[in-house]
Amino acid sequence: MMPFLAAVDPWILTFSAITVVVTVAMGFWSAKKSKTASDFFVAGRSVSVGWNSSAISGEYLSAASFMGVAGMVMSSGYDALWYPVCYACGYLFLLLFIAGPLRRFGAYTIPDFAEGRFDSPIFRKIAVIFVLFIGFFYTMPQMKGAGVTLAYIFKDIEWFSGVKGLPYWVGVVLVGSVITLNVALGGMKGITLVQAVQYWIKMFAISLPIFVLMSVHSHYGNHLQANSVKPAVGMISEGDTSTSLEAAAAINRKALSEKAPKDETWINPFGPLTTKAAKAAGLSAAESRPYSLLYTYSLIIALVCGTAGLPHILVRFYTNPDGVAAKRTTMWVMILIGVFYVFPPVFGVMGRNLMPELYNGLAGVKGTDGVVLNLPLILTEKYGTLGAVLSGITCAGAFAAFMSTFSGLLVSMTGALAHDIYGRILRPKSTPEERMKMFKYCAVICGAGAILLGFFVETFEINKLVGWAFAIAATSYFPLLFLATWWRNITMKGAATGMLAGGTLSLTAIASTMLADQAKWAEGLKIWYTSHPLARTLAEQPAIWALPLALALMIVISRLTRSEVPADIRMKMLVLHAPEKLGLKQEYIQEHQQGH
């Protein structure tokens, strides 16, 4: 037993174990307090602004934010900064156009909204499928984060002679089952508390190591300054270069490996991430810039609009007591996640200067995705255990990251299965007790599905996977929510056509680039994409054409089927937009009950 444990860093193990144990314990504790079906699905709609905003932030800051952003800034430089910025800014869109009306309309889930707004049970089914679909897509990167982090913690264990380390799938299964158990026991109310605490764990885990690293190895700006040093020796002139050389000397920058992008392309916009397609086509740097600009815009649209369309984020708005609280919550969420997102890029920048060997790693934690976990270890040389302690803290943060996002996703997917499919479609007459029981079964089914999917994504970059989930949400849910809240003439057929077309087309486009890169039998497609950089850029980042397409389809089809606009549309719009104090919601419910 001793040599077994000696191979694992005790600090890393302790901090990670504490995070897991606290999560499970809090899940059990609040499970006792979750009694009613409403507790399970929307946490009794009584979560205070402080708790709820911490919980939303905790849920939102996933493995992609905690590990992926830092890794991507390290590998791609400036262009990757759009990810954290747009992850945070997407919330503004949600606040400006969707949060208030949706909360006033009051429904448990997005499918509830879809059915209520269009009086159409069929549309509920379509919406449910999309909840599950986007949800599963978004669980894959979380599962990857889990597998990678556990493999990192146990990397030096020797099980029996010759076999070293922990296989990737063990982490996926372990973390997946723990969270599934938690969700099945506590439901939404259970995880609200857990996620709120996990936000603060993450904030602490990302900021503290940065401050310590900066105090030892110079600050953020100096590290960026070092990236302007010209490698040509003997050409040093007076003036500018001397200050940058000083900065470089102060931070003791290590030599970059062959695989790392050059300083020039790394620190400036339109670098390796956005010019990949054009470079593959053999275009010069100047010729590839327009493609790069297009890629940047499409990425921004996907990320900003995608936030507003993520099912596990939207369901949280229903946990606010009223619309004003929903708005206040969003404000706090933006502050909480905005502060957080300043830090991950710092890890990327410092990792480039201090730990360039990560560029040589192929995938997972040995590559740039592992920079957040690995970087604190550079302190070990000078300060001994401090490095291990800080690395333990970032590991705990990573655990909090994928556990909280995964539990949030699991709740919304389970809610879709138990509340919408079972409770509304299969057995509309089921009792609340039966539904709660079903919630538990569905949690297990969804959890198992997510674990299975997690096995397949070991070689994908975490942040890219998340970006794709955003692109699909941006082209399906966002146009639906936006038009359904602000345009009274939208019909069910229009909304469904636009949503399905936008979502499936962008998925097909993204999948085609994945196939071209990974599958051997898609060689032809790869060659075609190489010679058509414009098509490749548009396929890799489809939001710029798929979002307008979805909106246009919704408008055109709604116009063609204008006789199908719900008869009580004025009342519906009033419920969406009139202040809750006017009591229109109660009136609307009464009218509906009389009508049936």
Binding site: V85, G100, F270, M331
Partner: protein
């Protein structure tokens, strides 16, 4: 002077006014934000030297996107929330007290 008139909350004109006022506020805030968000890549594209100016070691564009953009978003959302809560209170006031809907703000 007309006597204060209670707006009919079920009327078309009330709904129209409600949505118009809310949408105007949302679009004004969104426009500010979008100009900044979509303007930045354009600056990067057409004025790369300017955006590569070093400020405290950061390039200008890195400083804006990596740090300064977040406070901008907070300011916009803070203004929006204050205005929209005030708007809702004014609407409730109009209906309950019976002041005719005015088109101020």
């Amino acid at each position: 002077m007309q006597p204060p008139e209670k707006p009919d909350i079920h009327s078309e004109s009330f709904l129209h006014m409600l949505m118009q006022r809310q949408l105007r506020l949302s679009i004004a805030c969104a426009a500010t934000f979008l100009v900044a968000l979509f303007g930045l890549p354009l600056f990067n594209y057409f004025a790369p030297e300017l955006m590569a100016t070093r400020v405290f070691g950061f390039t200008l564009t890195w400083l804006i996107v990596g740090v300064l953009f977040f406070p901008l978003v907070w300011i916009i959302s803070w203004i929006f929330i204050r205005r929209s809560i005030a708007l809702e209170e004014a609407e409730v006031e109009e209906v309950t007290r019976g002041n005719a809907p005015t088109d101020r703000k």
